[in-house]
Symmetry: C2
Subunit: 138 residues, 2 copies
């Protein structure tokens, strides 16, 4: 179980070096749709491709597939094909995936609770920027 990385060699738990394994995980969940998939499946209930596609409004099939494959590769998701006709494929988070989904859901819950605050911050920031760049027209 050697991961080829020892935090102690690099001076502490909070150093973010180029080859830190945490980065690999972060890079995966940083995908545009990944966290949404994780939250959608966080409760452990399996879901079919089309259903996921509907819940993630705007995702194209290609990108959804890529996202699902990446999660499968990481061991967070299982893909089960039922050889029926028409074909039926179910996606379900593993135990590990559910843990991740739960953590991500905390973030989405938190952000929903603070949407208004952040929108206000954004507007104030943009307003300040606009005043400092007095622009040409009207």
């Amino acid at each position: 179980m050697d991961t080829g990385f020892d935090l102690r060699e690099h001076g502490g738990v909070d150093v973010f070096l180029r080859d830190c394994p945490t980065r690999a995980v972060l890079d995966v969940i940083a995908g545009k749709w990944t966290m949404l998939v994780l939250v959608a499946l966080a409760d452990g209930r399996p879901m079919r491709f089309a259903e996921l596609r509907r819940r993630l409004d705007g995702v194209t099939p290609k990108v959804l597939t890529q996202t699902l494959r990446a999660l499968e590769r990481e061991g967070l998701l299982t893909r089960t094909v039922y050889p029926t006709v028409p074909p039926r494929v179910e996606y379900r988070l593993t135990r590990l995936g559910q843990e991740a989904g739960g953590l991500v859901q905390r973030i989405t819950d938190w952000s929903q609770a603070n949407v208004a605050v952040m929108q206000a911050a954004r507007e104030e920031y943009d307003g300040r920027a606009a005043r400092q760049l007095p622009g040409a027209a009207s």
Copy 2:
């Protein structure tokens, strides 16, 4: 305080529509370095530009600036300039930012605890893929 979005109009709390405000937040923290910045500053201690740059090994000044500005815009970070010479600029998470940082840190902690499992999953997945695409050479 109207955000222009009412979840009830769209059929539930767990629908991820194109204009869902949660998406905006997710898009911000999904940046390649954003979560690392959030964790680095999660304890509330301010940090200077160069110090951050050292901790996020590999980040270029341009990208770090972009990341910091995005967080500032969202109201998660404050940028304080001390008009000394040489110049001194401190970055510090707001209360909101610290909350976010705490949540992200749970994810990084979790991923560090499960690095080995995920690496194993990755290798098994890749191995299976290699066996199914029997490749040309040797």
